[in-house]
């Protein structure tokens, strides 16, 4: 065997990376050399060890999201703007609510409306309680006095005007009276028209609710942040 210990070739030998002649020469040497055989076995075992190392897992997705939809960026901008607008409206509605509260001497617009409704019910109740043929001599200005307490009150309800037209014994009026409920009962003096007016006032009150805008700002802001993260991982 003319070959000296081929130490530098042993790794390439076990990887089959030598040319055929060199591979054959090393093989020939190994037949006669126990030391090199031992080294080859050690290198093989070392390679197996390196190969057996545990496979680490990344903590996040590393593949860029190249296929981000075209609408993603405009939507993010829209959501950011919407969030900003909602914050503005939150502040504005909070300020308006405070001003309303202060100018009404502590009573909010909502409570003023409720007060006017109660008053209207009280005006209408005696008429409903008495016989239809004997109209109660309600003062002509009673409704005005009653609603004068609340400048922001809604127009006089039909039921409140009923006593003035009771002498006509209009069937419609009778029908209204028959549906009237004594004061204090749930839903007292709320005819369908009143209910309609009240429900039309609901959206106005909702729009002035600052918490609505705050919630909207949070939702839009959350969506904008999520979209921004999505876009950051995109090309």
């Amino acid at each position: 065997m003319t070959l000296q210990h081929p130490h530098a070739e042993l790794s390439a030998y076990i990887d089959d990376a030598l040319d055929p002649a060199a591979q054959a020469a090393v093989e020939g040497h190994l037949v006669a050399c126990a030391l090199c055989r031992s080294h080859v076995a050690q290198l093989r075992a070392t390679a197996a060890f390196v190969q057996a190392l545990p496979d680490p897992v990344p903590s996040r997705r590393l593949v860029p999201r190249l296929a981000a939809p075209a609408w993603l960026a405009p939507l993010r901008t829209l959501m950011t703007l919407a969030s900003g607008a909602a914050v503005f409206l939150f502040i504005a509605s909070a300020v308006i609510s405070n001003i309303t509260f202060l100018t009404s001497g502590g009573a909010t617009g909502t409570t003023a409306q409720e007060a006017s409704r109660d008053t209207a019910a009280k005006v209408q109740a005696p008429a409903a309680a008495g016989p239809a043929s004997t109209p109660s001599p309600a003062p002509a200005g009673s409704g005005n006095v009653a609603f004068g307490l609340s400048p922001s009150a809604s127009p006089l309800p039909d039921t409140a005007r009923a006593p003035q037209g009771a002498a006509t014994d209009d069937p419609r009026t009778r029908a209204d009276r028959s549906t009237a409920v004594p004061p204090g009962a749930p839903g007292a003096a709320l005819n369908p028209q009143d209910a309609g007016r009240l429900t039309s006032a609901e959206p106005q009150r909702s729009l002035l609710n600052p918490w609505l805008w705050l919630a909207l700002a949070i939702v839009c802001g959350g969506i904008a942040i999520a979209l921004n993260r999505r876009l950051r991982t995109s090309v």
């Binding site: 790794s11 080294h39 080859v40 390196v50 190969q51 190392l53 903590s59 590393l62 593949v63 090309v235």
Partner: protein
């Protein structure tokens, strides 16, 4: 790799080269974890390794039109390896061993001083694997890179030469020196090599 999956891979590569983002994502997803483990063992920190892989994949997408010749996997590894080595070089705070070690002739073979556990018996031993990790971490970056590309990723010497942009003789030298250094570390920790 079977012929079917090979042709599927070629189809994906062609679609990606034509600008199909989903095809590229598919290709990248196949190598994501391998690239991460490779980058992690070169740079040593998870956050850096994640950034390197993500940037490498971005870079690969941008330059996919220029991809040719090399296998797609080797091409991705080349981009990621270059980024990892650049990152390592730019670290001033961490002292790094020289990238170009002396010639193979200087390598010494440490011999066990006393009979110890056989390496083959330690194959599933966590302690031994931890010792290998430590030994790898102590290697010069170029040896570590070559050894990982060979023993973990299974690249041929020719591919490693292209990935690391060096001559094949250098690859041979780096792999052998790296493997021998790991073997010597295990020997120094009381391991007795398998009898040849």
């Amino acid at each position: 790799m079977s012929a079917a999956s090979e042709s599927e891979l070629q189809l994906l590569i062609e679609r990606a080269r034509a600008g199909d983002t989903r095809a590229f994502e598919d290709l990248a997803r196949r190598e994501e974890r391998a690239l991460y483990r490779h980058a992690l063992r070169i740079v040593g920190t998870t956050s850096d390794a994640e950034d390197i892989v993500q940037e490498a994949l971005f870079s690969a997408w941008r330059s996919i039109a220029s991809f040719q010749g090399l296998s797609f996997r080797a091409w991705l590894f080349r981009i990621a390896t270059n980024r990892a080595l650049d990152q390592l070089r730019s670290r001033k705070r961490r002292p790094e061993l020289p990238l170009d070690p002396p010639d193979d002739d200087d390598i010494t073979w440490a011999e066990p001083v006393a009979p110890g556990p056989d390496l083959t018996q330690l194959a599933g031993d966590r302690e031994a694997l931890a010792a290998v990790e430590t030994a790898l971490g102590a290697l010069p970056a170029d040896q570590r890179t070559a050894l990982l590309l060979r023993d973990v990723e299974g690249f041929a010497y020719e591919e490693i030469a292209v990935i690391t942009s060096v001559e094949i003789g250098t690859v041979k030298s780096r792999i052998h020196r790296g493997r021998l250094a790991v073997r010597n570390t295990l020997i120094s920790q009381g391991w007795r090599g398998p009898d040849g």
